[in-house]
């Protein structure tokens, strides 16, 4: 079936199977491979993208369900060669080890800071329940989300 949506501000449409997950569509059809598939079972959050402003696990929604939606991926954050404040903060705080969970952490981090202007460390740790870092590098990830200038 045909699906059309806006991805990182640009219109995108393609013919996909109904069972194509949004993350498969992003990675394999649009070649936006910044969004990662970690667990594929809705647990790890590496595939987190924003759909109409909400952080969602793109491995647990079909592309066809995003008809007409506004999708933002990690590739859409930097503007004119300038990193998003959350990306900048991950860089400053070395909020990553192997980097696999990072795109999801950054997308979730932005969502957390939108909902909590001045969160406590406890809030950030609790809000990261759906994002797993298998390097266990949470300390600097939490620091990055807490101190991002947004």
């Amino acid at each position: 079936m045909k699906v059309s949506m806006t991805v990182n501000g640009k219109p995108a449409s393609a013919e996909v199977e109904a069972r194509t997950l949004l993350v498969e569509y992003l990675r394999e059809h649009l070649r936006l491979t910044g969004t990662h598939v970690g667990c594929d079972t809705t647990q790890c959050g590496a595939c987190t993208v924003h759909i109409n402003g909400d952080a969602v696990k793109s491995c647990t929604i079909f592309a066809v369900q995003c008809e007409g939606a506004n999708v933002l991926t990690i590739e859409g954050l930097a503007k004119d060669g300038k990193l998003h404040p959350m990306q900048e903060s991950f860089k400053e705080n070395h909020g990553l080890q192997c980097g696999f969970c990072t795109p999801g952490m950054v997308m979730a981090g932005i969502d957390i800071r939108r909902r909590h202007k001045n969160p406590t460390e406890e809030t950030v740790r609790h809000e990261l329940e759906g994002n797993i870092c298998r390097c266990t590098g949470y300390h600097n990830i939490v620091k990055a989300i807490l101190t991002a200038k947004m």
């Binding site: 109904a18 069972r19 809705t42 969602v56 696990k57 647990t60 929604i61 079909f62 008809e67 759906g130």
Partner: protein, 266 residues
Amino acid sequence: MYQFEYHRATSVEDALAKLKKASDGKLVAGGMTLIPTMKQRLAQPSDLIDLGGLKDLRGIKVEGGKVVIGAMTRHFDVANSADVKKAIPALAVLAGGIGDPMVRYRGTIGGSIANSDPSADYPAAVLGLGATIKTNKREIAADSYFKGLFETALEAGEMITAVSFPVAKRAGYMKFPQPASRYAMVGVFVADTGSGIRVGVTGAGPCAFRAKDIEAALAKSFTPDAAGTVKIASKGLNSDIHGSAEYRAHLVSVMAKRAVAQALGG
């Protein structure tokens, strides 16, 4: 994942007409349970009818001492609703503890209750508050809704449109999350309602049920200790590598005790 045909529903009637036409169709609300189940090939629907576009089924109203939540209302919306926080704070707490933030942006109350997962949170509140399940055909009382493992009173061609929760004088919800999945190993919703004490339990049995012994104890004395000292029989309760039936039985009393403390503002 197996192939399926995808349809967008434009109304409740349209959804049910499409469901009727399909050989083995399924309605999808938020998809937070159904999509993982399909990925594991534990479900193989011929057709998926997406309710995502049914805006009329979204929203929260407080009227006549009841909080009425549309079936397609997301956990995120319930958790953050000023109306729910004011009328039944424990219900907002419950919704805010389901899954994780990303799951709460997609998962819906109707989907959770229609599925009746033995470890889902909402069924405890449905029983604990004595809610009414509204469908396209009728209204079903909480006490006659949950029938067994993934089994409810919903008939073929019947769909939840809203859930109506009577406002309680005080209520609390506490769960012991399974350490890996974070689903409720046991969750207990305690409510002091206009028509007595009700205690809804999830996670412990094949489906949510009421703990009548704890209700009786709390009717005499609405205190944490009154709930905590009730011994729950383990017969028929769930048992798996994460906890035996005896362990879950014990957890029911402990979670009830904590839920009462929460209801009392502790």
